[in-house]
Symmetry: C2
Subunit: 247 residues, 2 copies
């Protein structure tokens, strides 16, 4: 278990939900953990595993995905720095989905018992982690609506809006101009389309002047316009409802 600074992003994240006092902050930073540098496409957890550690993403990008019976894949979340990536799998005992890096990534593994103890000994920290899970849930619901009811262009545009906003919020880029670390195949699996169709939809968004693309980067000329085309309303990210009661 290494230098505590690896957990700093976790404190930052939790303090969005609850102003922690010095004791609580120290307790979080004192969590036992093991830092690891992972290559791209590496599995952090596999469906059916009984993981003994949760994991904090401190660098790079990761996804949560499932492989269905017919071999197709569904991506249900994209994660970036500061996200606690594996609470579900490790706390619930048995992983119900896979977690995988998409780029080289640095992660801190935290034993599940340590998380539970922290939550019990410092209930306000537990509450903050619970809030984080609630926001996760909110994002899942929006993805359900996105995939179920929006057409191709709106669906992809919505993903681009969400990703941009979250990147900006995590201070990893500008929401109107950022590097998108996903292949078109991954975008397809995150939106319930085929890679071929993603390609055509991207072209369509570009031709309509809503986005510009270079290598694997996205530029958004007119944020409001794209937001409108995407039927995007950031409320579900709860970026502004932070530290609502605690503190």
């Amino acid at each position: 278990m290494t230098m505590p600074s690896a957990l700093a992003p976790l404190v930052t994240k939790l303090e969005l939900w609850a102003q922690l006092d010095p004791t609580e902050r120290a307790a979080v930073l004192a969590l036992p953990h093991r830092v690891e540098q992972l290559e791209a496409h590496r599995y952090i957890a596999r469906e059916g595993d009984q993981p003994r550690a949760s994991c904090l993403l401190t660098e790079g990008f990761a996804i949560r995905q499932k492989i269905l019976g017919d071999g197709s894949r569904s991506i249900s979340a994209i994660h970036m720095r500061g996200d606690v990536v594996d609470l579900q799998n490790s706390l619930l005992g048995k992983a119900d989905h896979n977690v995988q890096t998409v780029t080289p990534a640095k992660v801190a593994f935290i034993p599940r018992e340590a998380i539970q103890t922290l939550a019990v000994d410092h209930p306000r920290v537990g509450l903050a982690m619970w809030y984080d899970t609630l926001v996760d849930g909110s994002i899942f619901r929006e993805w359900i609506a996105n995939i179920a009811r929006r057409d191709g262009p709106a669906r992809l545009a919505h993903l681009l809006c969400e990703f941009g906003l979250r990147l900006e919020y995590a201070e990893l880029g500008s929401r109107t101009d950022y590097h998108l670390p996903l292949t078109q195949e991954q975008l397809a699996d995150a939106t319930g389309m085929t890679p071929v169709h993603i390609n055509r939809v991207l072209k369509d968004l570009e031709q309509r002047g809503l986005i510009t693309r270079s290598v694997r980067s996205v530029g958004i000329a007119d944020w409001d316009l794209l937001q409108k085309a995407a039927d995007f309303n950031s409320a579900y990210l709860h970026l502004k409802d932070r530290a609502p009661l605690l503190g």
Copy 2:
């Protein structure tokens, strides 16, 4: 605030996750609450609201849904007796989706401050509620996969399997023969299809001998067969991973 017995289903539910000691059990039952009998199609929370109370469903059925920009609707969850229906909305401060009854229902409203206080004063109860939220999230992920990647028949069959199993688990019916309290339009909004297509898919499942239907009831002749057609694996419901560590 009425007789505490209305909260009994909540204790039952939480004890699936953590064996509570008498003090903790008493604390849950001592939660201030207001019982209300609601008619069908009544909104419990509306998107944008700042609800001051969470709500426990003690009788009847309810859904969570969103109305999109074009007026279409997406249903992201179906709830039955014992489910805590509005933690997300009330704890996060601002509702990001609607909660609505689909049948007449009895609910117990619990002030959000009371929930928070409970979680802080009795951290293990807080942990149990957190677990419940994690399972919610797991179901959302499966729904994403379901809508994104399965075809009509499998998608609907999957919903029928899940609903049956959850009903049985809540002791509200048999998984192979139950009353389905949803209209075909609601089934459509829960699976990302149109009502017309739901109708055809139902007919298809019936003709293939996978289900039988009467008024608004479903019979499943061969559970294993339907499960297979649905690509259904109940692991994501975490019915068997109960009380994993606590207690």
